[in-house]
Subunit: 437 residues, 2 copies
């Protein structure tokens, strides 16, 4: 599945000068998304340096052919759903042709250049209509840390190492990076309070997650075997699964989180393709001694060999105080996608194992990915050990939970010797005061 070809060549440079050495979008990345140029309608694009390439314009200019043309034609409705549905073949053909068109020395430069827009002038949208959004819980250090707060006696439940735990999330409130996030009102009840009250969440948190875009998917009743799951993964993004912990603690029994999550989930707008991430595939870390082996429907040797991603994940916090004092954002966490107890293929196979149909443009979340060390906690619930140990910032501010005006930024970077590094682009959101609060 991890095919390395000329599009990964670290020596390949682009005639789009800003792409060369770009931390996120060098010519080796070429992520796909949906953008609007100034005054224009939403349309499919590819990020290259600080520019966005209009794919339909490129098609109209006669610069794409064969499978790549078919991939772009499938975006005519202003979403990537149709392209994601086509699977790896057309997606890879598009990557190959875009890479050649954008490479230094391309004869097509003159005709391609008018199809570029300055990214800073464009609005970025959700890349696809999300049919269903499912959130998993595969970050084992997060599950353990959180379990310790809610259930000190048995942090990790007996099913955790057997079942890739997940639940249905809310698709309607998934928003693209940059959308402000209004602090939710809701019912919350402190253990010290006699009864619940309704008002602004007092424990607003973020969650650092990897998002997974589903490609072709499966028909109802026809599970995807774990060995075929990679064919149904069309790309990746960052996901901030904002969480109102006080609402969550009061509502979550017995059916799980609901309004604690459904007020907003922010994603980075670029779909980072499996092809771009091919150099950063790695073996799934071996399970600790004593852990049960996955059941056969979750086990595939090739997936274990290269189904994990060597991807650095970072969280930054910018507060009003830090901004006013001209101080840089505070790093909340440095983690890695290697801390996933289950692979993406295992998540897909489990999700469809009961016959549930996954559709092109469905979104999976990994669950919060925390590193085992205190500097790698992917949520404030963990960092502050259940709100008991406040964070002290260089501005003199303290934080337990997020406050109004705080901005959370998630970042992802893939690096490997002998390859050009790529990034996901930022996933950011700023907290607005609660309505009527």
């Amino acid at each position: 599945m991890s095919r390395i070809d000329e599009t990964h060549d670290p020596k390949r440079r682009s005639w789009v000068a800003s792409a060369n050495g770009h931390p996120d979008f060098p010519i080796q990345n070429l992520p796909l998304g949906v953008f609007s140029p100034p005054g224009g309608a939403p349309r499919a694009g590819a990020a290259i340096g600080d520019r966005i390439l209009d794919l339909l314009a490129l098609l109209a200019a006669g610069l794409l052919g064969g499978e790549a043309a078919r991939a772009v034609e499938a975006t005519a409705d202003g979403t990537l759903n149709g392209l994601l549905a086509l699977g790896a073949g057309p997606r890879r053909a598009l990557r190959t042709q875009l890479s050649a068109l954008l490479a230094e020395g391309s004869a097509a430069r003159g005709r391609a250049e008018p199809c570029l827009h300055a990214a800073a002038d464009c609005a970025l949208h959700l890349p696809a209509r999300i049919g269903d959004y499912t959130d998993f819980y595969v970050g084992i250090h997060h599950a353990t840390n959180v379990g310790r707060v809610f259930r000190p006696d048995n942090p990790l439940l007996p099913n955790y190492k057997h079942v890739p735990i997940g639940y249905h999330g809310r698709a309607s409130s998934v928003v693209p990076s940059g959308t402000p996030v209004r602090r939710p009102n809701g019912q919350r009840k402190l253990p010290s309070e006699a009864g619940p009250s309704f008002g602004p969440s007092r424990n607003l948190d973020y969650e650092l997650e990897l998002g997974i875009w589903i490609g072709p998917g499966n028909a109802l009743g026809e599970p995807i075997p774990v060995g075929a799951a990679a064919e149904h993964v069309a790309g990746f993004c960052l996901l901030n699964d904002w969480s109102a912990r006080d609402i969550q603690a009061w509502e979550y029994q017995p059916l799980g989180p609901f309004l604690a999550k459904s007020f907003a989930s922010t994603i980075s707008p670029w779909v980072i393709t499996p092809e771009a991430l091919a150099p950063f595939r790695t073996a799934q870390p071996p399970r600790p001694a004593g852990d049960p082996a996955p059941l056969p429907y979750l086990w595939d040797a090739a997936d274990q060999g290269e189904g994990a991603l060597d991807l650095e994940l970072e969280v930054l916090l910018a507060t009003p105080g830090l901004r006013e004092q001209g101080l840089p954002p505070h790093r909340l966490a440095l983690s890695s996608a290697r801390h996933m107890y289950w692979t993406v293929a295992q998540m897909v196979a489990h999700h469809s194992s009961n016959g549930c149909n996954l559709r092109p443009g469905d979104l999976l979340g990994s669950g919060t990915i925390s590193a085992p060390d205190p500097e790698g906690c992917g949520s404030l619930l963990e960092t502050t050990r259940g709100w008991t140990e406040p964070l002290r910032l260089a501005s003199g501010e303290e934080r337990r939970a997020l406050e109004d005006g705080d901005e959370v930024v998630l970042l992802a970077r893939a690096r490997r010797a002998g390859f050009a590094g790529i990034g996901f682009g930022a996933c950011r959101g700023t907290v607005l005061p609660a309505r009527g609060g």
Copy 2:
């Protein structure tokens, strides 16, 4: 909200003879749906007796005007989403014009008659693209019965009477009545077993629920007040939330049901409008003494006065044995929508109270609605008291959980003296053997 007008007149009869005295679809009902006539594409229709009226054909014949025409124009994409989005005005105008057109003595009969199809010849589809499906848990007798099985010591959790408990369901696997339901495979572990195994569910169950179709809905961040919630309810259906109880018991901690539910949820295909149900509105039953009052954001006097539905709910089971012996289906349950601890308006207000956006065509489930008596249990888990007391059928068969070949049929009927009774049409599904099982 409960406006009674000439469309409810019990003396009004239709020139579609089968409508007069029809248990579900007399001229006083006029539910909306999406159907395909033989060889034709999906399109909007209204049920009248044993016929379906093609609404776009009626429009093309020049038989609809004003707001009613606008309502039907909004279905041009072959779904009701656009119509549901318009709210009560156009929906009511359509009802008024359809009722007049179909009434005995209508001068338009000759031109309307070619727009009718025999329902038996048509396929019925989902009436709308379901953006998100949310399942509530407002049947208090069900919650108590189930809680007793899973948590004998505290069947009803402390939040139940404060929070309309709900969770996100799976939209992709909602199917229309008549679609066969394949028994899911999944992980399950009996307490007596050392570890989990993967295979066909051994405790397949049904759940008797009311479905609610969302109309206009709200923008992200703008809650719907409980007093305005009825404007956002566009209709009702029956919902069988099939449940694999063994998978559920093993997977549901800590994030709630997932694969135990997402293999299929069956709905009755006709959208029964709030207008058709207006005569059957009733006061929400008073809370038992000692129960907490709802928080203000969930309390509206008008809603308490007429926000409940007097709707009889019935479940029938047809087994291979009953069919072979020519015996009628076994009645599994007789219940009523009056056994909802929260009103639909309270569910809508709660759902959006954190700013979560509801969209036209979203589907809410009530949760299982059991009556307090043993003959009113809305799931086999309850009827058999946790699989311990098998059901004996007239065929000599026994049932704890559902077996392959069993058909479950949900029915709903509204009756009130002085009004024509209406029904929802059946919500049926037959269990197929597990894949590879």
